[in-house]
Assembly symmetry: C2
């Protein structure tokens, strides 16, 4: 059973682990540095569907199907699905879960969704459930026309803009089974530092990431150097640099072991993604396809993974509101025993 | 610690209860049959804010503030906020939580959000948390222009249409404190019976409500007559009648103890709301302001409350998709001991 330590960190007391995970992407993701880590790459960004929204649902279905297949499990073995995406009314997730017959807990955490889903799955798998599926997705084309401009318009992108990943990630979080283990979860607070430039999401999210990460260190009496890797969701180049500065100011300077999924997914120079990748699918696919497998293979032993979200909408921006951010943290370890 | 029985019902093993709850509404809600049950009624549907979206955030803040005040608690006593609404990217909830400094778990369950939030709060309060705030809202004006037409257009409404409640509800769910008790939670599955008329949400949601409710009866070996009140979220006149028919077919006929929040909030004849009320705020306010207080006062002893959601978006409807529904159930009791 999970219990709270310090101000806001939950320690997962039981043996809860990632039984399997899978990442799905499209052409651009396949051409990036992590291309080979994806389980499924389809060069057709419509995934054979008629619309990008349906393609996004399809990516979620494929990610879940592949994760279950790797675990030699079936959908009927799953107790709960925790899922979310960026589309209005989260239709990618809802339509994807339609055929599952599994209790569905819909989330909205913007790009923080994957860590939110994995965190809730861990708390549930530590008490009321055996298997939980955590899944999140985003799609460049559906996001671009919903948040910015029609693709046909060919709008220019400033250097601080990020490229929404066309990707989905799914993780099967299980009790008494699975590896690596989930040792702790820190759900974040909504932080607003007055950023109002919707082409600079990294700057809007970095303060929330710094807040959650520093609170985790305070709650657990650990330091950045206690972890092999500390990885944020999609701060990108601008946001990741700001994150380092903020963490230094908070007394927890980040070293070479810090990275950002938004900087890992694409080759920023060759792939013209400006400040890096973004979207729920960014951290979902990088964690599911790259980081968790590295933990499984023993190349990493302890990882802090934060998915980071900007909680705005086109309407809130048009109404002159600033952009609040949020970040949820999951602590992975290859060691079964307590580390705190 | 919660544990699962049957296919999908979670039994809350510890003592978890509603420490306090509060409902906020506007003019039309104040004029309805439950007007006196609202803690706060503001005849100005903007609640002093510049936009309806900000008004909706304000309603959530007021509902939380009032619920905390009733419990003689403060925001710093709250471990987690579980919240959601109908607006794109759930901005009403995110902006409302901005000043709280409390870990925020954003949900999207359409009008099923309140039961989803209370259910998650109960699971958390049964393990990792002491106090959780469950909150949900909707606003007629922000919903109407987002989902249907600009208000100025004055679009005609068919008889199956429902009126989105301008309301918010908040419940403080606590461990070892509070009354009535939460005995069980059944998170629902996404059900799609092929309804594609977005002016007939009741019909889209009724199959999901019937599925969750009948599954709860099967999981717990109880019957409709074992409860003083069985109440659905916002099926309205059309959906509630369909619900009765579906439950009869499933072998669990509903009697006089069945009602629907969407039929309780307004006077359908005098207030011109066609099939009844809808919106996350409907079940949130009717449960928080009316049903839970009746349990507290001893007028009800055992209640099954289901919030019901239609998981569509204007985009999915335009793309020819049908409308999936979902329903989450919370079982309240005034008895401390086990009832299953």
């Amino acid at each position: 059973m999970a219990h709270k330590i310090g101000k806001q960190t939950l320690i997962i007391d039981g043996v809860v682990g990632i039984r399997s995970s899978a990442a799905v992407g499209s052409k651009k993701e396949g051409e990036g540095p992590l291309g080979k880590d994806f389980d499924i790459i389809n060069d057709d960004s419509r995934f054979g569907e008629k619309t990008w929204e349906k393609a996004e649902s399809k990516m979620q279905e494929l990610a879940c199907w592949k994760a279950l297949k790797k675990a030699e499990a079936e959908m009927k073995d799953v107790d709960f699905i925790f899922a979310g995406d960026l589309l209005n009314q989260c239709i990618a997730s809802a339509f994807s879960a339609r055929g599952s017959k599994v209790p569905y807990i819909g989330l909205y955490g913007a790009c923080s969704t994957f860590a939110e889903a994995v965190g809730l799955s861990a708390v549930f798998a530590d008490s009321a459930a055996k298997n939980c599926l955590a899944v999140a997705s985003s799609h460049f084309c559906s996001a671009e026309r919903q948040y910015r401009f029609p693709l046909e318009y060919g709008g220019q992108r400033p250097p601080s803009a990020q490229w929404t990943a066309t990707a989905a990630g799914a993780a099967l979080v299980s009790k008494e089974e699975g590896f690596p283990f989930i040792k702790a979860v820190t759900f974040g607070t909504v932080e607003d530092f007055g950023i109002n430039d919707q082409n600079n999401m990294g700057a809007a999210m970095a303060p929330a990431a710094a807040e959650t990460l520093s609170q985790f260190f305070k709650d657990t009496y650990t330091d950045p150097e206690d972890y092999d890797l500390i990885v944020t969701g999609d701060l990108g180049f601008v946001g990741a640099n700001l994150m380092k500065e903020l963490m230094e100011r908070k007394g927890f300077p980040l070293g070479e072991n810090y990275n950002d999924c938004g900087l890992m997914l694409y080759d920023r120079e060759k792939q013209q993604v400006e400040s890096g990748a973004s979207g729920c699918g960014c951290s979902a696919s990088v964690l599911s396809g790259h980081v968790i497998p590295m933990l499984r293979d023993g190349m990493l032993k302890s990882v802090l993974a934060l998915s980071t979200g900007a909680l705005m909408s086109p309407t809130s921006v048009q109404q002159g509101e600033t952009i609040p951010g949020i970040a949820h943290l999951v602590c992975f370890s290859s060691e079964k025993g307590g580390i705190f």
